[in-house]
Amino acid sequence: MRLLAHAVLTARCEIQGGALVAERKSPTAVLREGPRALSEAQVREIEEADLGSVGGVDIDDVIEYVHKDLKSLPDFITLYRKYLKQRWDVYDLDFTQDKIDWTEKMSEEERQSFIAVSSGFHHGERQVEIELPVFMIGASEEEKLHIAAQIEDEARHTVFFDRFYREVVGLAGDGIMDILDASFPWVSETFVGPFGLLAYQADEVRRNPYDERARVRYGTNYFLWIEGVLALSVMKVTLSYARWRGFLPAYYAGFTATCRDESRHVQGGMRYLQDAVRKDPSMISEIHDTLRTILSLSGVASRRIYFEPLGWTEQEVQTLFFQQLRRKLNDVGIDLPPDLEVLLEQVEPTLAGG
């Protein structure tokens, strides 16, 4: 049934040559393809796309783009200048077609799977927005610019989900917190693992803003784990579903633009961690200790999420997740001790991001 729908959609898309999608491959194709090479033209397309054209960019290319500069990480001024060119207006999105897709075209199973994934993002974006300001205090002057930009990005991502939940899913409420309250029942109990830890780490940094060891532990959870692994993996799941089915065009455009923002966050975060370890090699133990706590939590699930309606199996999500972590660690040059390698093999993904 789904294959048939897929074939029909493919044909329709080819006939129309629609702006949203030029190619219809399976959502999980990237797992078999492995890393892809981006041409200069593709990089330019990703970097320069505005909100009107970002819907035509392949999400797998954007995720590849995140890794493009990890081996020679850009400096914070470069990242800040990219931000100035790439920021987008979340109020320019028009969710009219998304509402039609959500209510008339998507099945109840698809909606439930989608919302189980996107609610982690709704709350995740809000959490990374409010926990970031304290990290700016102890940062270098150049990094302060990048963090200020990132705070604005995360605020915009929070509004993006607020609008999606109001205008497409149909949740009602006066303020931003009302909508967060309304989507919270879909958030898994294990969300408090990485995000509760981030909240407490932010408090640790608030009390001692220049404690570099506390900052490295915070940065490992925030930039490496939450943004670099959880967010990018799970973003890919909803975006490749939307692209595959040709649904939710404003969600696809806004969240692909969000993914491009995340590439700057991950690159900035990896730059911070790499610089910290180069300055003081003993900092690697703070990264390891943080990963040890995170990985020991990540093997626990409180709910079963059904990814199948979105075109994924849990195993495939897990594979994607490992790919994302390995690539970050390899590209930035972080080796793991044997006990962490063992823990890593037991991990299941938490559905969240920032």
Binding site: F184, E189, G193, L197, A199, D203, A301, R303
Partner: protein, 153 residues
């Protein structure tokens, strides 16, 4: 007589009973059995203690800061009592929350968000170690929130 006073010795006794019994069946039914297996596994070997403080307890409920001290050992609660500002503070993890946060938790506010929104905060103890068993802590905090008590209006 009715319900014990919030943050009283009788309330601490009731908390002890509730923690020993663990989360209710209705609460357990909403989550995967594997999750509760993990909870029981952590509980069976949990070696630490918590001092859960109320920073601004109303005078009608006692002197502040007051702490609900919970000590674990051998899979059960070995001590659960209220300690006041004049008692020695002896716990692996000292946490603090304003009375407003306690009141909200007691009125049913979500325990996960109580942690995530920093209503309750770790004031002493190793943060990374504390978080390796955070799901156990959060579920216990939820149980504590369900123990009936009278509060001054």
């Amino acid at each position: 007589m009715g319900e014990p006073l919030f943050f009283s010795a009788q309330w601490a006794d009731a908390v002890c009973g509730a923690l020993t019994a663990g989360p209710s069946k209705e609460h357990r039914d909403g989550k995967l059995p594997e999750y509760w297996d993990y909870f029981e596994l952590v509980k069976s070997a949990y070696p630490a203690s918590w001092a859960l403080g109320c920073r601004d307890l109303p005078a009608a409920l006692g002197k502040c800061p007051a702490y609900l001290t919970v000590r674990w050992g051998g899979g059960s609660v070995t001590e659960c009592q209220i300690t006041g500002p004049d008692d020695p503070l002896d716990a692996t993890y000292v946490l603090g929350m304003d009375y407003d946060g306690w009141r909200a938790l007691h009125d049913g506010y979500d325990a996960q968000r109580t942690v995530m929104y920093r209503k309750i905060l770790l004031e002493e103890g190793n943060l990374l170690e504390f978080f390796t068993t955070i799901y156990f802590f959060v579920e216990c905090l939820a149980v504590i929130g369900t123990v009936p008590a009278r509060r001054p209006t």
